[in-house]
């Protein structure tokens, strides 16, 4: 379905002759509308996933912004205000793609760095810059980043 969607979008650009990002965006929206009218929707279909991808993107960018401000604070504040450490985060996501996406998202968020994945893929080891309590650190990662990665990938 995603493939058909992009074909239709590119077709729109080709037919209107507007080879620009705006043209592609308009084609993409029209193609989405056409597919919406002609294909069944409901949970588990393409139409359920597309909004989730956008929601995950927004949540992720927001997390990056917040984390940037926090790290900026710690760069200038006295060092003993930080409490860094390595925390083991149990993984719910299982596929290669999902684990890669989650690890990348964690590293991209300033102040956290994913170090390694356990050989049985059950645990991700994450280095954090400010860990109040390892349990709440785990919960925060699972509730924000992992939840959205899961929604996009499954």
């Amino acid at each position: 379905m995603a493939f058909l969607h992009w074909i239709l979008a590119v077709l729109w650009v080709a037919l209107t002759g507007q080879w620009s990002l705006g043209g592609l965006a308009i084609g993409w929206l029209f193609a989405y509308g056409v597919l919406w009218l002609t294909h069944p929707h409901g949970p588990g279909t393409y139409f359920a996933r597309v909004p989730r991808v956008f929601r995950a993107l927004v949540v992720f960018l927001w997390e990056i912004l917040l984390a940037n401000l926090r790290v900026t604070y710690h760069v200038f504040a006295p060092l003993d205000r930080m409490r860094p450490g390595i925390v083991a985060v149990p993984l719910d996501v299982q596929s290669d793609a999902a684990i890669t996406m989650l690890a990348n998202a964690i590293t991209l968020t300033p102040g956290t760095l994913s170090l390694d994945v356990a050989s049985d893929r059950q645990t991700l080891y994450v280095h954090g810059m400010r860990i109040g309590d390892p349990r709440s650190f785990r919960r925060d990662i699972k509730r924000t980043l992992e939840k959205h990665v899961k929604e996009v990938c499954e």
Partner: protein
């Protein structure tokens, strides 16, 4: 006019985050914290600068290229940071003395090619001012 001010703000914000990342690399006490700081430069720093460039030029072709540059930076920067952090840990680079915990300690097999999972306490802990939000 509005676009020009937006460009100015984005340029200043981008440079600011780049400078902060640089200071962070010098000031942070261990290699893991330094690597955590570099993702600032890759994300908000370069993101703001590239957005400013795309806005200033105002040409769709350039904007797409700026967007692609940002996307590739976002894809590759964390891989490098992750590999450096992992290599440092496996070589035994110590954590800063002020670190609170190290749940990775002892999880590697002696040969280093197997990494054990760790059963952890998953009950929610108490909230503190240091929590991520």
């Amino acid at each position: 006019m509005v676009v020009e001010w937006l460009v100015v703000v984005l340029l200043l914000a981008g440079t600011f985050f780049m400078v902060v990342a640089g200071i962070g690399i010098v000031r942070m006490p261990d290699v893991y914290l330094r690597m955590s700081c570099t993702s600032k430069a890759a994300t908000l720093g370069s993101g703001c600068l590239l957005a400013a460039y795309a806005l200033q030029v105002g040409d769709a072709g350039i904007a797409v290229r700026a967007l692609a540059t940002a996307a590739f930076l976002l894809l590759t920067a964390p891989v490098a940071a992750h590999m450096i952090g992992r290599a440092a840990y496996r070589l035994g680079v110590p954590l800063w003395a002020g670190s609170c915990c190290d749940e990775l300690k002892g999880a590697y097999s002696p040969s280093g090619d197997f990494l054990q999972s760790r059963r952890v306490d998953e009950t929610p802990g108490p909230r503190s001012s240091l929590d991520r939000r």
